[in-house]
């Protein structure tokens, strides 16, 4: 593919991603906008003032969402990385059953699972707590982490680790100097998945959080379908911004890694 075609492709992708955000941006600065005007009749910053006010709880939701997405991602790595390696590189009894069970949270609608778990969480006093919401976010996150990373580990194999061991590296040194740099691109992609999955959870947060843990989707959803389009637009921009930032950061750090698609081998 020559250079100009590549640029065209890049431009199309950028437009496809950013174009839907432009009406949102306009809406967020609108005071009055009636059909059939092409642009708002009266501009205003009320929506943004509302977003930054304490009563909107957008700030609280943003911090909770960020914390939840980060902690959930870290736990997904802690649980998913060893599991992915085991599934990719070792044979053991019941392996295909484990693989199948891992797919279940992706296939079964979340609401079905949560109804059952909700009762347990009430019993263990986990409802309405950060820990409870984080645990419920882990359910859809861990399968994605394991699916992506088992593809990465299967691709990566053990030859380089074996080499490091024979050269005198302990298992910790081998992981730190050889395995981690090798799987890092795949790990970044998997972490991006878990971050965004946790970031966009609504039903799970709503039911387990019980209104005490407020995240951005919880703040945003009541406005959608409501009359205040301007506020909905402003909040949804706040909602999209970190996700876009994560996407851009990760795709930039992967720009030189052509092997990254290996991580999707199992998806």
């Amino acid at each position: 593919m020559n250079k100009s075609w590549r640029w065209l492709a890049v431009i199309i992708i950028i437009v496809a991603v950013l174009a839907p955000l432009i009406p949102q941006l306009i809406w967020s600065f609108t005071f009055r906008w009636y059909f059939p005007s092409l642009l708002p009749g009266v501009w205003g910053t009320q929506a943004w003032e509302y977003v930054f006010s304490k009563s909107s709880r957008v700030g609280e939701g943003l911090i909770n969402s960020l914390n939840l997405a980060l902690v959930t991602s870290l736990f997904s790595i802690a649980v998913g990385l060893p599991a992915a390696r085991a599934l990719a590189l070792y044979e053991f009894r019941g392996k295909s059953l484990v693989e199948w069970l891992l797919m279940v949270p992706i296939i079964v609608p979340g609401i079905v699972v949560i109804m059952g778990i909700h009762i347990l969480f009430i019993r263990y006093r986990l409802t309405g707590t950060f820990l409870g919401v984080m645990l419920i976010h882990l359910i859809p996150c861990i399968p994605y982490m394991i699916l992506v990373m088992s593809g990465v580990f299967a691709n990566y194999g053990t030859a380089l680790e074996d080499t490091a061991r024979t050269l005198g590296a302990s298992s910790l040194q081998t992981f730190w100097y050889v395995t981690l740099p090798g799987i890092l691109p795949g790990l970044l992609v998997a972490t991006m998945f878990t971050f965004l999955i946790s970031w966009s959870q609504y039903v799970t947060t709503f039911l387990i959080g019980g209104g005490r843990i407020i995240t951005l989707p919880l703040v945003l959803f009541p406005f959608i379908g409501g009359a205040n389009h301007a506020a909905a637009a402003a909040i949804s921009l706040v909602f999209v911004a970190p996700a876009l930032a994560v996407l851009i950061f990760i795709s930039r750090s992967l720009a030189t890694e052509s092997s990254i698609m290996g991580g999707f081998g199992r998806l």
């Binding site: 074996d162 490091a164 061991r165 024979t166 050269l167 005198g168 590296a169 040194q173 100097y177 050889v178």
Partner: protein, 346 residues
């Protein structure tokens, strides 16, 4: 300087013994080849020696000390694999210096020894390159330098020449041999190529199906193989059945005199002569048999003949100007000193 002793070393995968009761002793500074067709257990043996695979039974000793409970990184046995050679995220200098860095040596000492090692493998000035910028042969040499820099007790090479083209293979073979002789490291390499084993190794351990067949100097495999399968692996299928009585063997084609008559007891034997030892045309009058020519192939430096000897397919070599037609009957001489006796095949 380390001797390596394997005692009844066994490794089973399920019910199959990949390596079966392998016992041998490798002298300090010796270069040994594990030779055999693929799947004969030679790489499995290497992985057990280095500690990447646990044996199902038996013992591995370095200088008389059991290594079974010593983890890979503490054994001091370095393994050079045939592919996935270098760490892709590190520079060449970091690759070569890896083992020293893991041991916590100071940076300047590592740098000095890396430079020294890169010179030894004829790659001076390659410090800041990356693995993907190097050719296969260069990567192989870096992998060798990376292994040698930690001054291993034992150097293990898994098919080190398999992924190289013919010229590079020759060059690499000489490099490995000269470095091994200079540093006097006890070395084991795995190969399926019997010529490679002959040219590189002090002694060859030939394995079939996980069982050690013969452990000897390379020339012994040509001159005194222990059985027909070994002779066949060394590309000699010239066999003739007979009954040995003293220094004579009675065959369907006449009675032949043999020198090495104590190789087998009197009774049924399998007689063999290497293709290059079968004398075509003129020669002494004794020890002659008749053979039918089935094919003649001109090889440039010599002529290769395919013969039918008592219903068995033989090969022989004649001078380049030798002329014969398929269907001709030849009288060939088998020198009594070049006849070797094998047990009959069951």
């Amino acid at each position: 300087m380390t001797t390596v002793t394997l005692q009844h070393l066994t490794r089973r995968f399920g019910n199959v013994a990949a390596v079966n009761a392998l016992s041998l002793e490798i002298q300090s500074g010796e270069m040994v080849a594990f030779l055999g067709p693929s799947g004969c257990g030679k790489t499995t043996t290497l992985r057990m020696i280095v500690g990447l695979l646990l044996p199902s039974g038996g013992d591995i000793l370095f200088d008389g000390k059991s290594m079974l409970t010593v983890p890979t990184e503490k054994r001091g046995a370095v393994m050079v694999f045939q592919k996935h050679l270098l760490f892709p995220t590190l520079t060449i200098a970091q690759n070569v210096g890896f083992g020293l860095r893991m041991r916590g040596l100071p940076q300047n000492e590592i740098a000095a020894r890396v430079t020294e090692m890169l010179e030894l493998v004829h790659l001076p000035g390659f410090e800041n390159r990356r693995a993907h910028e190097l050719s296969g042969g260069q990567q192989q040499r870096v992998a060798l330098a990376r292994g040698l820099i930690i001054r291993p007790r034992v150097l293990l090479l898994d098919e080190p020449l398999a992924n190289l083209d013919a010229n590079l293979r020759l060059e690499m073979r000489e490099l490995i041999r000269s470095i091994q002789q200079e540093l006097k490291i006890t070395s084991i390499f795995v190969t399926h190529d019997q010529e490679e084993a002959v040219m590189l190794a002090d002694r060859v351990a030939l394995m079939f199906d996980g069982v050690l067949q013969q452990f000897d100097a390379p020339r012994v495999f040509y001159e005194r193989p222990l059985n027909a399968a070994i002779a066949r692996f060394y590309r000699s299928e010239n066999f003739l059945s007979g009954i040995k009585r003293g220094s004579q063997v009675e065959t369907a084609l006449g009675t032949l005199r043999v020198t090495s008559s104590d190789a087998q007891p009197d009774g049924p034997v399998l007689l063999t002569v290497r293709p290059e030892d079968v004398a075509i045309g003129a020669g002494p009058d004794n020890n002659r048999i008749t053979a039918k020519v089935t094919a003649v192939v001109y090889m440039g430096t010599h002529t290769q003949l395919q013969l039918n000897v008592d219903g068995r397919a033989w090969r022989a070599e004649g001078p380049a100007d030798f002329t014969a037609q398929p269907g001709d009957t030849l009288s060939v001489h088998l020198p009594d000193k070049r006849i070797w006796l094998l047990p009959t095949e069951s």
